[in-house]
């Protein structure tokens, strides 16, 4: 029989998980060139919600509806529009050939990119992670402990540890929804950018351009390869082109499996704290094991 049993109900386990979940956050960014446009993004990612279900035979922790909050999320598009020149037409042709008087020629969209469109997409993506996890009891041999006695390591905060990780058996990322407002955000941003770019032009030039292009917003959408479904376009850009959703999935799996234990304690464990002139009483904990059943998690071990 094990010397120690420590049992956490599903409710207590949920408390442990929420503590872990709330400590996870990451920022990421990337950029790339996609033909006629470039894009870069910067995202902050954290987790909220989620429900826990403990399973027996096999021992598993099921986590579902773990909300992935991508906030802030800024996407910056750089678009290289085809150069358009307006004017330059001959008003008074020369009878000897050539032209005596021409309208001035105005060329626009000569730069690359011509317009930069910053989009604040914070909080518009609703996504979830679900998965099944084993609980892995692993022994962390603290490298900073090397050359120290256990008591020296205690006083310098370099003790070895028993750590308990959620080791993924399977894990999924579900993109639930991209808010419909993304279309309006994009169109408004394009119009704002175009206004900023063309605002200095004479009215007749802007009218001519609009006539020529049949709506600049549509041109920009076309260049971005947005056909109908802007949600799908954004999902492809972030998820496929940038691999943001895979990044999130890998990040969550790695943090849970390797970096953030759901629970840990020092080994040897200070069963009596230090007192004036007295070292702490450290007891080694051996043979640590984890068992999960339908209602609780049980950690067992022996005192060495």
């Amino acid at each position: 029989m094990a010397h120690i049993n420590l049992a956490a109900s599903e409710k207590a386990f949920k408390g442990l998980f929420e503590n872990l979940r709330d400590s996870l956050a990451v920022s990421t960014s990337d950029s790339g060139s996609f033909g006629p446009f470039t894009a870069s993004y910067s995202a902050g990612i954290r987790l909220e919600g989620g429900s826990i279900d403990l399973k027996d035979s096999p021992d598993e922790v099921h986590i579902s509806e773990l909300d992935v909050v991508i906030d802030p999320l800024t996407l910056t598009l750089g678009i290289d529009l085809p150069e358009i020149c307006v004017g330059g037409w001959c008003i008074i042709p020369s009878p000897f050939g050539g032209c005596w008087v021409r309208l001035p020629e105005i060329c626009i969209f000569s730069a690359n990119p011509d317009i930069t469109i910053p989009l604040d997409l914070s909080g518009i993506i609703t996504s979830e992670i679900s998965g099944a996890f084993d609980i892995d009891a692993s022994y962390f041999t603290n490298p900073a402990h090397a050359g120290m006695s256990d008591h020296q390591a205690f006083f310098s905060g370099n003790q070895h540890e028993w750590q308990f990780f959620l080791d993924p058996i399977w894990i999924d990322f579900d993109l639930i929804d991209i808010s419909d407002t993304v279309g309006n955000i994009l169109d408004s941003a394009i119009e704002f950018a175009i206004d900023g770019l063309l605002g200095w032009l004479p009215g007749w030039v802007r009218d001519a351009l609009s006539w020529l292009l049949g709506g600049i917003v549509d041109v920009v959408r076309g260049l971005l390869d947005i056909v109908d479904d802007i949600d799908e376009w954004l999902s492809d850009l972030l998820g496929v082109s940038f691999g943001l959703f895979d990044f999130i999935l890998t990040w969550v799996a790695d943090e849970l499996a390797k970096n953030f234990p759901i629970f840990k304690f020092e080994d040897p464990y200070p069963i009596l704290a230090p007192a004036p002139g007295q070292i702490p009483v450290l007891v080694p904990v051996l043979n640590v094991d984890v068992d999960i059943d339908e209602t609780e998690l049980i950690i067992s071990g022996d005192i060495g």
């Binding site: 010397h3 420590l6 109900s9 256990d150 009596l272 002139g277 007891v283 209602t295 005192i303």
Partner: protein
């Protein structure tokens, strides 16, 4: 039945594990179990007591004491600076959680072990360093007789002794002691409280009772309160991750902590 049927967290320590913990406490806090006068406590890590002290290397590494130093024992009627050296040690400590299976209690402690109780078997060693005759004869010559106050007042009380009477050896004895204890929770700590204590085979009864009284009082006031374990440490610092508090005593949890099935059990809830 799930361990957490009536609380959010449950921790249990089997008596075998608890006895391991006691062994670690005895080797890492030896001064809690070993007492003597200064002369017998020297050299610091090779004291001249009745029973050899096993201690953890870290005790010496961190310059912790092996022995709690006590004042010299006054000699009745003697008013000089010398006192007797002595030692007192608890050398063995074994606990047995209800139901009793490791320790056979003496009849004086009304076996079998009651529910929610812990049996303890220990060994107490002690001794007085008794001076040889020639030493005491020599000291007689040095005695300072304080004259009677001519006004008829009482003599002043003698000063406590400051020096040990030289002697070659400690007259040692060891006694087996048995006790029953209960576990109580106090201010976030779990500690043992002494119910009854019995020293085996000492006569006359008055001497036995006096020794039992002294050892009981030492355990109650001196030793057991210092071996209290923080409730949070019983659940391996779970409180660093979630906020917990002891579960209230209810019909489902009539004792918290409880001692049953050879285990010490603690029930805690999230708050």
């Amino acid at each position: 039945m799930p361990l957490t049927d009536h609380s959010d967290l449950f921790a249990s320590f089997h008596e075998d594990g608890f006895n391991h913990i006691i062994r670690h406490i005895m080797t890492q806090r030896p001064s809690l179990f070993n007492y003597s006068t200064q002369d017998l406590a020297s050299p610091k890590y090779e004291p001249r007591l009745c029973s050899k002290i096993e201690f953890h290397l870290a005790v010496q590494e961190f310059n912790n004491p092996l022995v709690t130093v006590l004042p010299y024992m006054p000699i009745i009627g003697y008013t000089g600076p010398y006192g007797l050296s002595y030692t007192f040690q608890l050398t063995e400590f074994l606990v047995d959680f209800h139901p009793g299976n490791l320790i056979t209690l003496p009849t004086e402690l009304n076996p079998p072990l009651n529910e929610q109780r812990i049996a303890l078997k220990g060994k107490v060693c002690g001794g007085v360093s008794c001076p040889e005759r020639e030493i005491t004869d020599k000291l007689i010559d040095e005695l300072i007789d304080i004259p009677q106050d001519p006004t008829g007042k009482d003599r002043p009380d003698p000063e406590p002794p400051t020096k040990p009477i030289p002697s070659r050896k400690v007259e040692c004895f060891c006694l087996e002691l048995y006790a029953t204890l209960q576990v109580i929770r106090s201010n976030g700590f779990i500690q043992l409280r002494l119910d009854g204590l019995e020293l085996v085979d000492i006569l006359p009864n008055g001497l036995e009772n006096s020794l039992e009284c002294y050892i009981s009082t030492s355990l109650r006031l001196g030793i057991l309160p210092k071996v209290r374990i923080a409730l949070n440490d019983l659940v391996f610092s779970m409180n660093d991750f979630i906020t917990i508090a002891p579960a209230p005593v209810t019909g489902d949890i009539p004792f918290n902590p409880s001692v049953s099935n050879n285990q010490l059990n603690a029930f805690l809830n999230l708050i």
